[in-house]
């Protein structure tokens, strides 16, 4: 599989660990997600008016790139090369949704996608993987989950202030983005990839094998959607409305 963004990887270690191929596929999703986040923040910097915001977006981009590198390094420790592919089926759709918001110069929509939707999934799933992953692999996931959580806190302040100006308009926007992005994210963590391969697993789909490393798609999906709902609660969206949104997502 083609590595789209180089990460200064050194050669993989000689002896792969048991379950290394499962971790390889999990890491491939994480690295791709982080690289896409880095690209998203870089794109976001192009529509920021305030130089401080520009600098902050670029700083975030650098941070996400660092996360991707950290995940790739964990792969090497396991003796596997971790591929990435931001053109993989699901990630590409999410990236396109984000870039539509960039094209519209919609800073708030970009934050909603990146900080509320994508980061909810990242924090919740990394936290779970952090508990299941052995040694430094688990520690890296847990540490990055904690860092991502900090991003969310900062973005929430901006988004809450934006919602306060016109709650109805804000909620309409969140719902529109929810349909666009969350549909894809939930398909990504569905029990089965019903629409074919995700373009990241190195051979067959990794989902049926997750239990071998102490994970399940049920847990990853449940924790991710729970985190997403709580993030929307924190923004002040009515819980009964967001519950309907989530329950209407594909199973």
């Amino acid at each position: 599989m083609e590595t789209i963004v180089a990460l200064n990887c050194s050669e993989p270690a000689a002896c792969p660990s048991p379950n290394a191929s499962i971790w390889q596929d999990i890491l491939a999703q994480a690295v791709t997600g982080e690289l896409m986040a880095a690209m998203n923040y870089t794109a976001l910097s192009t529509i920021c008016d305030d130089p401080e915001e520009v600098a902050e977006a670029l700083e975030h981009a650098q941070g996400e790139h660092g996360h991707a590198a950290a995940f790739a390094a964990e792969g090497r420790k396991l003796g596997v090369d971790v591929p990435s592919n931001i053109n993989a089926k699901y990630w590409k759709r999410i990236r396109e949704a984000f870039m539509r918001c960039i094209a519209e110069h919609d800073f708030i929509a970009c934050l909603i996608i990146q900080e509320i939707m994508l980061e909810s999934f990242a924090v919740a799933s990394y936290t779970r993987v952090g508990k299941a992953g052995p040694g430094s692999l688990g520690a890296t996931f847990a540490a990055i989950a904690a860092e991502e959580q900090e991003h969310i806190g900062h973005a929430l302040d901006i988004l809450r202030a934006e919602r306060a100006k016109d709650p109805q308009r804000f909620d309409d926007k969140v719902y529109r983005l929810h349909l666009d992005v969350m549909t894809t994210l939930t398909e990504m963590v569905a029990k089965e990839c019903r629409h074919g391969q995700c373009d990241l697993c190195h051979s067959s789909c990794v989902k049926p094998s997750l239990s071998e490393v102490g994970l399940t798609t049920v847990e990853l999906r449940g924790a991710s959607l729970q985190h997403y709902l709580k993030s929307l609660d924190a923004l002040g969206l009515p819980g009964e409305v967001t519950l309907q949104w989530v329950m209407q997502l594909p199973v």
Partner: protein
């Protein structure tokens, strides 16, 4: 579609509701129905297996808006908040998780600036003696709602006895879960009017204390710590135990006994072999001037064969909201007296909230129109009459839920 949902969002931004009802689903079938309504028409149903997987992850939150109307013309607006405790996780093994769910649900009610909150089903059992476990309440007050539940159980017993031609004062009453808030309230209301009362619960100390209290008022009582040890055959039974699933098998019961199953979830095992017994589901009331849900959860959140029926515990919060009495009417454990019950029944009745028509798992036991209650219309009194001028007692100390009995008391 998006617009419609956004419209709901707009409504939800109104600050402050009169009441909130905290509940949970008693079966997976009920949980599946909730999911079906939330998904809306035209979407593929969620397989049962997936519902069991999804449900435990849903954070406690409002599910729908509720509006209740009074016969006086008043209306009260509220929220139904589900704690999303999975129906198969009501037992003691999940105690602390479940307390966390109720706390989070309570926080939703507080954030919505609810005037009064009713704690339905296990929510009240988890919290009743431990209101300090709830988040900081600001102006929101909480009631377990158990007083009105007791009122409707007692009314149901009287009505069923009248229908069946049973003489209450010649009957032996068995209360299962007797030392719980609901069970002890029923004992105080009915023990003076029956020949003998058997109090059944696991905690011998509490049983003895309750028996002594009732006997001091002239009642004739027996106690039993298990259903296998009943000293007498009972003619009338109130099942008010907090069981995580319907599992109760009654032993020494008259072949044609009157049995009120007031549990949520139900107490009686579905395969109980009592062919001659007259079983009904107790503690339910009916709102005569209307109850509506947005989105429409009619028949889903209130799964009864009659319209606008709800559990007494939830109706208590609605009645108090209609009455504009935002006070913690029922709190603590074991403090419900006949005087409290009478006062609560009067409040409910003023707003057209009466005993629901009786029914059981097989269907209605009477017509659709409920008869307004006639307290104490049946039976003979054995001790002093309830005095509605007595001081009300709130917030009596309760138990610590860490001591979770196999058969707890509702």
């Amino acid at each position: 579609m998006g617009h419609a949902i956004a419209g709901i969002a707009g409504q939800a931004q109104e600050t402050g509701v009169d009441f909130a009802l905290i509940g949970h689903q008693e079966s997976w079938r009920a949980a599946a129905d909730v999911v079906r309504v939330l998904r809306g028409p035209g979407r593929a149903p969620v397989p049962d297996e997936d519902i069991r997987e999804i449900f435990p992850w849903i954070p406690p939150r409002a599910v729908c808006r509720v509006e209740v109307s009074s016969t006086t013309g008043a209306k009260a607006r509220g929220l139904y908040i589900d704690s999303f405790i999975p129906p198969d996780r009501l037992d003691g093994a999940y105690l602390y998780d479940n307390i966390g769910c109720v706390r989070a649900a309570a926080a939703c009610a507080i954030n919505a600036s609810a005037g009064i909150v009713s704690l339905g089903g296990f929510s009240s059992i988890l919290i009743e003696g431990n209101f300090d476990l709830l988040p900081e309440r600001r102006t929101t007050v909480f009631t377990t709602g158990n007083t009105l539940t007791v009122g409707f159980i007692v009314q149901g017993i009287r009505k069923m006895c009248a229908q069946e031609g049973r003489d209450l004062c010649r009957s032996t009453l068995l209360i299962v879960g007797a030392t719980g808030d609901v069970g002890s309230g029923c004992a105080r209301c009915l023990a003076p009017f029956v020949r003998r009362t058997i109090l059944c619960a696991r905690n011998c100390g509490r049983l003895c204390a309750l028996a002594a209290e009732l006997e001091a008022d002239g009642a004739n009582t027996e106690i039993a710590t298990s259903l296998e040890q009943l000293p007498l055959r009972a003619d009338i039974v109130i099942c008010a135990a907090s069981l995580p699933s319907p599992s109760l098998l009654l032993g020494r019961i008259s072949p044609e006994g009157v049995i009120c199953d007031a549990g949520y979830p139900k107490n009686l095992h579905p395969n109980s072999d009592m062919p001659g017994a007259r079983i009904f589901f107790g503690g339910l009331g009916q709102i005569t001037s209307g109850l509506s849900f947005t989105p429409d959860f009619s028949g889903i959140l209130n799964r009864h064969p009659f319209p606008d029926v709800a559990h007494g515990c939830l109706l208590e919060g609605m009645a108090l909201a209609l009455e504009q009495r935002f006070e913690p009417f029922s709190q603590g454990r074991g403090s419900i007296t006949p005087e409290h019950v009478k006062a609560m029944e009067a409040i409910a009745a003023r707003h057209g909230i009466h005993l629901a028509p009786l029914y059981n798992a097989e269907g209605p036991l009477e017509g659709a129109v409920g008869t307004p209650p006639q307290p104490e219309s049946v039976g003979c009194k054995r001790s002093r009459a309830p005095n509605e001028n007595d001081d009300r007692k709130f917030g009596a100390p309760g138990s610590v839920p860490g001591d979770w009995p196999a058969i707890a008391e509702a």
